[in-house]
């Protein structure tokens, strides 16, 4: 493995991992507070990208970076207020189902409004081109911008939760909602704001992920199950776990896609010749890059077998 490949893959993996973290942090926040697993979370990510596409067509990219997450925040808060709160009394399964239904609906609406193919949501001029080049390979500015925004977001969410009064109330409402209510805080409103906030984080990820990668109706589905893997692997409800798991999965996927080795190479190295007559040839000839799409899920299964509470999780439910 040459150093050029290693460094570039490392940077790409970290930037993809940080994008995953932006997505899963909102999900983790909502889940750990309200116990609601938001199946429409990546739909908010998609909405963020599409809103940013439309808004940046009118006022430019930089205002859209702020405005699109705000719109998503309003939508998320409204959904919590008018739909989720209504089904809360029926229990967890209807709560999950209502978000599942929402993801269905958002997909259809997005296709209705913006069409079924990719929209030309491009990078702004300031983010085009390479930031630096290493060993002759260039690292794009957009990827580093994703990393920058994700780190800023991580720090500000952490500061908000641990250093401010609002964060104190949120953390308390997380553990003792009745007590916080008795102290005169409006817990339902806190929940509404947290849900909106989580959705806005997903929307922000969409704004910067949409033009770094691609903005299309399938974008929600493509990251949808990966972020659930992140949440389970990191440990349900643990922000630090989600951070670790998303970096891990980002790196594993990026490295795996570029590796063209299969078990045949391994056998060759130890001196066993493999032909297409050998038992299990279809399995042996698979290269790591071909296996890349299933690696996160394999990871999920392994974690569940060997450490069911996740990497940094504390709850055992």
């Amino acid at each position: 493995m040459n150093p050029e490949f290693f460094v570039i893959s490392l940077l790409n993996g970290v930037s993809y991992g940080l994008l995953l973290f932006m997505l899963s942090s909102g999900l983790t926040l909502i889940f750990s507070m309200m116990g609601v697993l938001n199946f429409a979370h990546t739909s908010f990510y998609m909405l963020g990208a599409y809103f940013a596409f439309t808004i940046s067509g009118v006022v430019g990219f930089w205002p859209a970076l702020v405005l699109a997450p705000l719109v998503v925040f309003v939508l998320g808060a409204a959904f919590e207020r008018y739909c989720l709160r209504r089904v809360h009394k029926f229990g967890h399964v209807p709560e999950l189902l209502v978000t599942f239904g929402l993801s269905y609906l958002i997909l259809e609406v997005v296709q209705l409004v913006w069409g079924r193919s990719t929209v030309p949501y491009g990078l702004p001029e300031q983010l085009q081109g390479p930031l630096f080049s290493l060993y002759g390979t260039q690292f794009p500015k957009s990827r580093s911008f994703v990393m920058l925004v994700a780190m800023l977001m991580l720090v500000s969410v952490w500061l908000l939760l641990t250093r401010t009064r609002i964060g104190l109330v949120i953390q308390a409402a997380l553990k003792y909602p009745d007590m916080v209510e008795a102290l005169g805080h409006n817990v339902p409103r806190v929940f509404m704001l947290v849900f909106g906030g989580g959705a806005a984080l997903a929307g922000l990820a969409g704004v910067i992920g949409g033009n770094t990668y691609v903005t299309e109706p399938a974008m929600a589905g493509s990251v949808g199950s990966i972020i659930f893997v992140v949440v389970v692997v990191g440990g349900m409800g643990s922000l630090a776990g989600a951070f670790l798991a998303s970096l891990l999965i980002g790196l594993v996927q990026t490295f795996a896609v570029a590796l063209d080795y299969s078990l045949i190479h391994v056998f060759k190295a130890v001196g066993v010749a493999v032909t297409d007559q050998t038992f299990g040839y279809p399995l042996l000839k698979l290269t790591i890059s071909q296996v890349a799409p299933i690696l996160p899920y394999l990871f999920l299964v392994l974690i569940l077998i060997f450490r069911p509470k996740g990497l940094l999780g504390t709850r055992e439910d």
């Binding site: 889940f31 116990g35 697993l37 739909c83 209504r86 089904v87 029926f90 229990g91 967890h92 399964v93 209807p94 999950l96 189902l97 209502v98 599942f100 239904g101 929402l102 269905y104 609906l105 259809e108 609406v109 296709q111 209705l112 409004v113 069409g115 199950s225 659930f228 893997v229 949440v231 389970v232 349900m236 279809p282 399995l283 698979l286 071909q290 296996v291 799409p293 299933i294 996160p296 899920y297 394999l298 999920l300 299964v301 569940l304 077998i305 069911p308 439910d317």
Partner: protein, 440 residues
């Protein structure tokens, strides 16, 4: 879920005759008769394919509800077991056709079922370690795992094109070749009846009862000495078995299986959606769900391009306002009928239905016009919807649609308030009557 179950049991206890449970006997006879008579009433070939699909989807939705309704397990990966059942079944059929292995077609669904159970044993061990939300996420992950694996092994899963087969092979079974669609329908119907009966019988077994207890109160079940994890695991295997049978029947019906279509999470989501719409709290709910699934995907999709949007909206409203699904709506009204109160409500129902219809029509016009602008802009701005000609770019059409929608929903709201008052009054009367009956 608790409360609905107790109301059912108190409702059904009235119709139980000893030593023979006549009510149940009548219902099952009617079900069998419906399965036999249906293709004689609906004779077109479209109707026949729809009936066949309904037949095996009833098995699949019921097996899904064994997890969702009876076990409280929200699975997002049920298509894994139907799909893998289909694949094993199709390989068995192809092997039998080549002569390397002899099995008559009537037993192919059982092969699919065994395959489904095998994979449920294999994957379910990890899946059922947790319950609740974690369970849902793990099934989603495993569903994705299997679906993406299908594209990695084209030798077994046939890649993008899938695998095809011919259901007419070997010796005919007592003169039945299973070539004509009607013979396949009766095969599916027979399996449907047997599997439905078997799954209903399961609800009465000790395992079925303890599964309900695991859903309602896992802690207590642990306390009385059961291993909740193992109960879920066994239920999961049985559900996998019936799902595999459904998958095998689907294979016989279509003679083709593709990995991209039959294993993916969208398919699992479809089973979930319609099982829930039919009603997960009652045993017969998923049967209604299966019928709705076929009607929606065949008829509604013909009628409108926006059918997925309508479906999503209906689903969302059902979750919010009637979480028991269609079955619970039926049972609530049956309860009224039992106390002779249904007649008081029919005017309200008529009012609710007609105003809702008007509102929905207005909304549908707007949705159709938007879809038309998005998809068929090249064909001009005019479209016909339910006999009316709409101009998707004209002001009058939009104004009319908005006007109809607003009027419809406003009147609906008025009717609804009246209805809610009446409904709660009647419920009170019923409670009162029940109490009086108990006091006597």
């Amino acid at each position: 879920m608790n409360s609905t179950n107790t109301t059912v049991s108190s409702a059904t206890s009235h119709y139980r005759f000893k030593p023979w449970n006549v009510g149940r006997f009548v219902i099952w006879t009617l079900f069998a008769a419906a399965l036999i008579v249906a293709p004689m009433l609906f004779r077109s070939s479209l109707a026949l394919t729809m009936l066949s699909q309904i037949g095996y989807l009833i098995i699949i939705c019921l097996s899904y509800n064994m997890l969702l309704g009876q076990g409280g397990m929200l699975s997002f990966g049920h298509a894994v077991y139907t799909g893998l059942g289909s694949f094993i079944a199709i390989h068995a059929m192809n092997m039998a056709a080549k002569g390397s292995f002899s099995i008559p077609l009537v037993f192919i669904p059982v092969v699919g079922g065994l395959a489904g159970a095998f994979f449920a044993i294999l994957l379910g061990f990890v899946t059922t370690k947790k319950s609740g939300t974690t369970f849902a996420m793990i099934t989603l992950g495993i569903g994705e795992l299997v679906a993406s694996m299908a594209l990695m092994f084209p030798e077994f899963f046939g890649g993008e094109g899938g695998i095809t087969t011919d259901r007419v092979y070997g010796q005919s079974f007592f003169g039945i070749s299973f070539g004509p669609a009607i013979q396949v329908y009766y095969l599916i119907a027979a399996y449907c009846f047997v599997c439905t009966a078997a799954m209903f019988a399961f609800t009465g077994t000790p395992l079925g009862r303890i599964l309900n207890a695991v859903r309602d109160n896992p802690e207590r079940v642990e306390f009385i000495g059961y291993n909740t994890q193992r109960v879920r695991y066994f239920a999961f295997i049985i559900a996998g078995f019936f799902a595999g049978i459904g998958g095998g029947l689907a294979t016989i019906n279509f003679e083709i299986v593709t990995g991209a279509d039959s294993l993916n999470v969208v398919r699992s989501g479809g089973y979930l959606l319609f099982t829930f719409l039919g009603g997960a709290t009652f045993f017969f709910g998923p049967i209604i769900g299966a019928v709705l699934l076929v009607l929606a995907s065949v008829l509604l999709s013909e009628l409108s391009k926006a059918w997925l949007l309508y479906l999503g909206l209906v689903f969302l409203f059902m979750v919010m306002y009637a979480p028991g699904g269609v079955a619970s709506l039926i049972m609530m009204n049956l309860r009224l009928a039992k106390f002779g109160k249904l007649r008081q409500l029919w005017t309200s129902y008529l009012g609710l239905g007609s105003t809702a219809l008007v509102g929905v029509m207005g909304a549908a016009c707007m949705i159709e016009m938007t879809y038309h602008l998005q998809l068929n802009a090249a064909l001009g701005s005019e479209l016909t919807f339910l006999g009316a000609t709409l101009d998707a770019k004209g002001f009058t059409s939009w104004f009319g649609a908005v006007f109809v929608m607003v009027t419809g929903f406003a009147l609906f709201e008025l009717c609804r308030r009246q209805f809610v008052r009446q409904w709660s009054k009647i419920q009170e009367e019923i409670e009162h009557e029940i109490k009086r009956g108990e006091a006597l």
